[in-house]
Symmetry: none
Subunit: 205 residues, 4 copies
DNA sequence: AAATAATCGAGACGGTACGTCTGGTCTTACC
DNA sequence: GGTAAGACCAGACGTACCGTCTCGATTATTT
């Protein structure tokens, strides 16, 4: 009787891509809160059921669509100075968040406050990969003798990027150079090995 | 001739208070995304029109209700050490945000990403007063010779509180003592006047 | 300026007239079902309370407004032939009902189906006066020897005007000459004294 | 190949019947002007959208509900005398209109004054079928030699039923035997071939 | 090549809430 | 001290989407 049937999940990859593309377009045009499953279905020429079959919520769909487009960006350079690499990456991030992507990131985080699945997806798919890359830069800095070996990379990243996200989410300017360099002074000096860190800081400011 | 006519808005104060109370109760019980104008009207025993008359959006109503309840909290102590006052206030904030209020703050910020009026209200009614208090503490620190006189208070506050909000909004633990003390080390040492700041830091960690 | 004291009720009459005028204008423009008390109050520059004070319902207000304008119309001629007077009056009525007044009469009767006060007002203020005039014409016909003395004027009027209102209310043409003359043939012949009634009709048709 | 595709409307017949039944019940209980779409939806256990999907207006819904219940009534007998059949049918009609159905008919016609769709539906679904039956009776009368062959059936029906509806709509008694027999005397005599009514007319015309 | 079965588009369905409109009552401030 | 202006509670309006549920019509293996 119970001859094991092969699981014939034949999901149509093309369909999923059409859905994600439609979702991202609508996300750009109208923002997350005017994104509706019905709208995506209509735009993608797809039945609502198909969307519900593959995504658990509107937020999950939006995050997926966002990731498909935005993920391959914002990498770190690898120059001689890890410290300088981090400084530059922070500025690239600020530049990107100053535009359309920033609006979508704001809305992703905003909507994630109301749906833990969305939050988890956004964390795992977006924030964590970025933190991993930052950790690698920090590790390089340690190995190159720039940073203290006992730093806690999670806390450093929180201290460095937290204020950027905070300003993004509270409507403050994200590309304020004075803000960015002050921030770097506190954090990067805080993790610097050189005794001159304090001195240099006082000199710079 | 043209004697200024008094504003003809004769809003009923009692009614508004009933509405705000009902809103806050529902906010606590069900969260912001299940807060509906109809629900508030029903709970408050009030016509929907009355709510729409005085608040431009659901978010604005929620912020007002939140402010009416939560505002008079989270003050700073005033001991001999401004630095210590700040440390303690950060911990009190973390403790409060670890509970119900934290959930509401997350949702306020979350919803503010979709409505600029809500964001403005939350900023002006909640965040700015808190920042003003923090600025006063910083100022006291300067006057007492604890902090550098040339610090930019806005940036210091961003650097100090930004990571807290970032962790709150990305689901990380808000009361992680290691995180908090590391953060303070970076920022408070960064603004400390004493040359020993760096030394003390290295000793502590 | 001119401090005109007292004159206690003087304002009332003027106010009522303003209200009735505003009502009739709105009745013409938008029809009965889009007539609202609020609209009338706004148009007349009057408080809603004032309207509610003097009229029990929207229908009653509409009927009053209608009567104030339309009443002094549609009189009977008094020629040698009562029969001919009636024939002519029916045609005048049909002509008037073919236009704007007809639309309002339709809507008055329509709304009267839902409010007995409106129906009573319309009956007493509009239909009965008209029936009284018709009865006078019938009476003259009896006295002149044109009509049978034992006719029941109410029933004659029902038979003569009923079909006109019926067609008005069911959307049929009200000025169909064949319809009108057939109708008159049945009714006026039915009440005619002379055997020659038939003759006269055949000559005419 | 290109065989006409069937209409993709997959309406659920059972749902529609539930809606019509609920509508009629509410119509009976509260009358047309207190009939609300929301009320019908609640009573029928149906979404409002479903009602709006299939009926353009409250009036159209009410007419449909009325037709579903009332249509199969008020037929004509077929005895030897067409004249007598008509007389009896008029009395049956008057009897039915004297009760609950009469109230609904009044309200249908009343509401039809404000919505041409409702008027058209009521005409086509209710009045015209009844007129068709009456025309058949007249035709039988002609063929049996009771009525003049040149009568215009539309006008005869207007003359016969118009006053009944007129009295119904103006609040007069609908079962007044004197009224009914007077009316029949005028109209049926007017179309009779037999010499009693007006001998000379039949000869000449 | 035919039979089989998951997947698809379409959209009807019972619902919830929206933001608006109006009803009828009650309140306030001016004249 | 009467009235305009309008706030108030109530509740229906017609619309937008929700998430579930059929429908046939593709397709893509499996037989």
């Amino acid at each position: 009787m119970s001859i094991e049937k092969a699981a014939p999940r034949r999901r149509n990859q093309a369909t999923l891509e059409v859905i994600l593309a439609a979702t991202y377009e609508l996300l750009q045009q109208n923002g997350f809160d005017r994104l509706t499953i019905e709208g995506v279905a209509a735009r993608a020429g797809v039945g609502k059921t198909t969307i519900y079959r593959w995504w658990p919520s509107r937020g999950a769909l939006a995050v997926d669509a966002f990731l498909a487009v935005v993920s391959p960006q914002l990498s770190f350079n690898e120059t001689a100075s890890a410290s300088e690499d981090i400084r530059q990456q922070v500025r690239r991030l600020a530049a990107v968040y100053d535009g359309e992507v920033g609006k979508i990131v704001r809305e992703m985080i905003g909507s994630a406050q109301f749906d833990s699945t969305t939050l988890a997806l956004f964390n795992e798919g977006y924030l964590q990969p970025r933190r991993t890359a930052a950790k690698a830069a920090l590790q390089r800095g340690i190995e190159q003798g720039e940073f203290r070996a006992d730093l806690n990379p999670e806390h450093v990243i929180d201290a460095l990027y937290g204020p950027v996200y905070y300003r993004l989410l509270t409507g403050a300017s994200i590309r304020d150079e004075a803000f960015l360099s002050t921030l770097e002074a506190y954090v990067l000096d805080g993790i610097s090995l050189k005794g001159t860190a304090c001195d240099q800081r006082s000199l710079r400011e």
